[in-house]
């Protein structure tokens, strides 16, 4: 593929290359002829009296130069080197990458395929599968979910029994392959500042935490009206739409009145990216088994 819009530059570069090589050969040939030499030394003198002998080079040295010329010409015929000429071998970087990928697939594919047919629950107890799964996890998932799968603020903990979208092998596989988007609409406008605070206190009471009893009582009807559709009347959440369980003490986006109020007021869109285009089904299968095993401990 040429970057130039005009074919002139292809010819220009090709000519310079060929002419240079030919010129080197001619120069070499000219130097091989016997010539009268006037003096024993090269004529240069260093440090007052150090001079250099005019010793001839060994003849095989000259042959090495000829070998490089032949090599260069052969290279230009076989490989792309002259302008847009593609070379007899048709080599290209893209082709080489594809070949290497094919070879890697042939070499490592069977290792993954061996596990692809096995059941996730069985794999989650297979040490070898988990070792591969861990490597995949560290390379692809640990940036957000942390190296131990424990997550951090905004990134779910995968080692507990609390699942936003369900903890069955199928649900985990779907989360990895297709990704998930959890969206909570903002309620700040609808509820007003006081309303938001009241709901926050009611939410705190769902998990048995200390809350203002007046605010809690005022928040309850607001919760039933605005929140229970997704989070359920008892705040148990709904894995079908990724609505978090509010009745446990696990807080994805921070605990305490302030964090909860901010969440209610501003809402949130949280996204897990889809990996089906990045990882092969066999790798996703192993990752599913690994993630499944994390919470089984």
């Amino acid at each position: 593929m040429s970057q130039f819009t005009s074919a002139f530059w292809d010819v220009y570069i090709g000519l310079i290359t060929i002419v240079s090589i030919v010129a080197c050969a001619v120069l070499l040939k000219m130097q091989s002829v016997r010539k009268p030499v006037e003096s024993e030394t090269s004529g240069h003198v260093w440090d007052e009296n150090l001079s250099e002998y005019n010793n001839p080079l060994p003849a095989w040295w000259a042959w090495l130069f000829y070998v490089t010329i032949v090599f260069g010409l052969a290279y230009l015929v076989l490989y792309p080197g002259l302008g847009s000429y593609a070379g007899v071998l048709g080599w290209s970087q893209v082709k080489q990458l594809e070949e290497e990928n094919t070879r890697a697939q042939a070499a490592y594919g069977p290792i993954f395929d061996r596990f692809a047919a096995q059941d996730i629950v069985a794999l989650s107890k297979n040490a070898e599968a988990l070792a591969i799964g861990q490597k995949l996890f560290l390379n692809n998932c640990a940036q957000c979910h942390a190296s131990d799968g424990g997550g951090s603020r905004g990134f779910p903990n995968l080692t507990d029994k609390d699942w936003l979208w369900g903890g069955t092998p199928e649900a985990i596989r779907t989360s990895i392959a297709d990704g998930r988007t959890g969206a909570m609409p903002p309620f700040g406008q609808a509820l007003g500042d006081q309303g938001v605070k009241d709901v926050a206190h009611y939410v705190l009471s769902l998990s048995g935490q200390a809350s203002d009893s007046i605010r809690k009582a005022r928040g309850e009807p607001l919760y039933k009206a605005s929140c229970s559709a997704c989070h359920g009347p008892e705040g148990k959440g709904n894995p079908a739409i990724g609505a978090p369980n509010l009745a446990d003490r696990i807080w994805l986006h921070g605990s305490g009145e302030e964090a909860i109020a901010a969440q209610i007021s501003k809402g949130r869109v949280n996204q897990m990216p889809a990996h089906k285009d990045l990882l092969s089904p066999a790798k996703i299968h192993l990752l599913t088994a690994y993630v499944y095993s994390l919470s089984g401990k």
Partner: protein
């Protein structure tokens, strides 16, 4: 143009050199070194050790076995130290006695010696070889030349095979060679190293020393007037001349101009012209001259190892500052390297902090940081390691503290560290991880990291 101008080409065709075989003290030393180095080279690859090859540079798995020691790429410093020791030893020997390495132990010399020996066995002594090369092609010449090159090629291929046998297990390689199933790189390196041996020892010989070797060119920097070099005793030898029946009485020196010293020289020079850069210090001329002198009943040592000072009749100082400094540096480095090797812990640990999530809050408001510990067990047996962390009050490990590693296994272990809220100011705090083998107190490594509180 001056009248004395001579015609000269920029290039010079190599003149074949036919070194004459020589016996003597120094030739014996060279043969001892040839046998010594080559028995080690060809034999060591086959030596078993703990159920594996004793010396194996397993490039594919990045593990380098030398008897009981297992080196990892992280131990590259030992290779550096080894090269520094080799270089300093070379400086020292050169300062004391010139090109000892070149004359006795350099592979170029050793393989040339072996190839010359094969050549002599097949084509005969110097005169027979000169005659053979001059005569036209005959069936006899063809057979002699062909068999020489066959033997050379076989020997060179065996050398290439042995070389590759240090990189890939030689017993498996041998089976592969017998069944023609060597991999592409193994095949390439066997052929390449074999070709290099054949070409350098069979054809290039002194050309390597004269034109290719960089070491030959800077050795003179280590020479001084107290360096022992191979010297012709000009005072005693000149004027040279053929010994007549009347002997030395006619004002001639001890040199009978027999030319043996030139005939035995592997680089084809005349040592009587003085020290030259082509001289590799092999002392073949000393052995040759001593034989002649012995036969003539004259004192040996017309050509001998002597310092410039000794030849000039001045006292020689072996222990001079140059030598003492080389010895001092060499001894210091050897001692430090030896101690470091002896104290080396067969365990390596790298701590990598999780970068995306710096700190996270878990139940009870406690703060957790996550790290990856790359633990490398460099022994050849399975081992259990205990992980501990310290550096902040109440800092504790919230993940499994014990980990079992197989022989020479390297594993990434995610580690969770937990702190109670408010034990220190928010921000970054220095902590240390320590990893210790449960069966040996001394096998322990401590690594720094930081814990982030918020």
């Amino acid at each position: 143009m001056k009248a004395d101008a001579v015609e000269q080409s920029l290039y010079e065709v190599r003149e074949a050199i036919y070194p004459r075989a020589v016996r003597g003290w120094f030739a014996t030393w060279r043969w001892l070194l040839v046998w010594g180095t080559q028995l080690v080279f060809y034999g060591l690859a086959w030596l078993p050790w703990n159920g594996r090859q004793a010396v194996l540079f397993d490039v594919a798995h990045r593990k380098f076995f030398i008897f009981g020691l297992v080196f990892w790429p992280q131990d590259i410093i030992y290779l550096t130290v080894l090269l520094i020791i080799a270089a300093l030893a070379l400086f020292l020997f050169t300062a004391i006695a010139g090109r000892l390495w070149c004359g006795y132990a350099c592979p170029q010399t050793v393989y040339t010696e072996i190839f010359l020996w094969i050549e002599r066995r097949i084509e005969g002594e110097r005169n027979a070889r000169i005659k053979l090369d001059k005569e036209g092609l005959s069936l006899r010449k063809f057979l002699l030349k062909t068999s020489k090159h066959m033997v050379w090629a076989l020997f060179a291929l065996w050398t290439g095979f042995t070389f590759v046998g240090y990189v890939t297990p030689i017993r498996e390689l041998w089976v592969e060679v017998l069944t023609f199933t060597t991999g592409p790189w193994e095949t390439f390196w066997i052929l390449f190293y074999g070709f290099a041996t054949y070409g350098n020892a069979g054809w290039m010989r002194e050309q390597v020393c004269i034109y290719m070797c960089p070491y030959a060119r800077f050795q003179s920097a280590m020479f001084d007037k107290d360096t022992m070099v191979i010297s012709y005793d000009r005072v005693r030898g000149e004027p040279r001349g053929k010994a007549t029946v009347k002997g030395v009485g006619e004002g001639l020196g001890d040199c009978v101009d027999c030319g043996i010293c030139v005939q035995v020289c592997p680089t084809g020079i005349d040592i009587r012209a003085g020290l030259q850069y082509q001289c590799i210090g092999c002392a073949a001329c000393i052995d040759g001259c001593d034989q002649v002198m012995g036969r003539l009943g004259r004192a040996r040592g017309l050509i001998r190892y002597a310092t410039t000072h000794a030849v000039e009749g001045k006292p020689t100082r072996i222990l001079r500052p140059r030598v003492l400094i080389y010895v001092g540096i060499l001894a210091a480095i050897v001692a430090v390297a030896g101690a470091s090797l002896y104290l080396r812990v067969p365990l390596k640990v790298d701590v990598i902090r999780d970068r995306a999530a710096l700190a996270r809050e878990v139940e009870g408001g406690r703060i957790e940081n996550v790290y990856r510990l790359q633990i490398m067990n460099t022994t050849e047996g399975a081992r259990t390691f205990q992980i501990a962390v310290a550096g902040l009050p109440g800092l504790q490990l919230a993940s499994e503290p014990r980990v079992v590693l197989e022989a020479t296994e390297s594993r990434m272990v995610p580690v969770r560290v937990r702190a109670e809220p408010g034990i220190a100011a928010a921000g970054s705090h220095r902590i240390q991880f320590s990893v210790r083998a449960t069966d040996d107190e001394r096998v322990a490594v401590s690594e720094k990291s930081v814990f982030i509180l918020r």
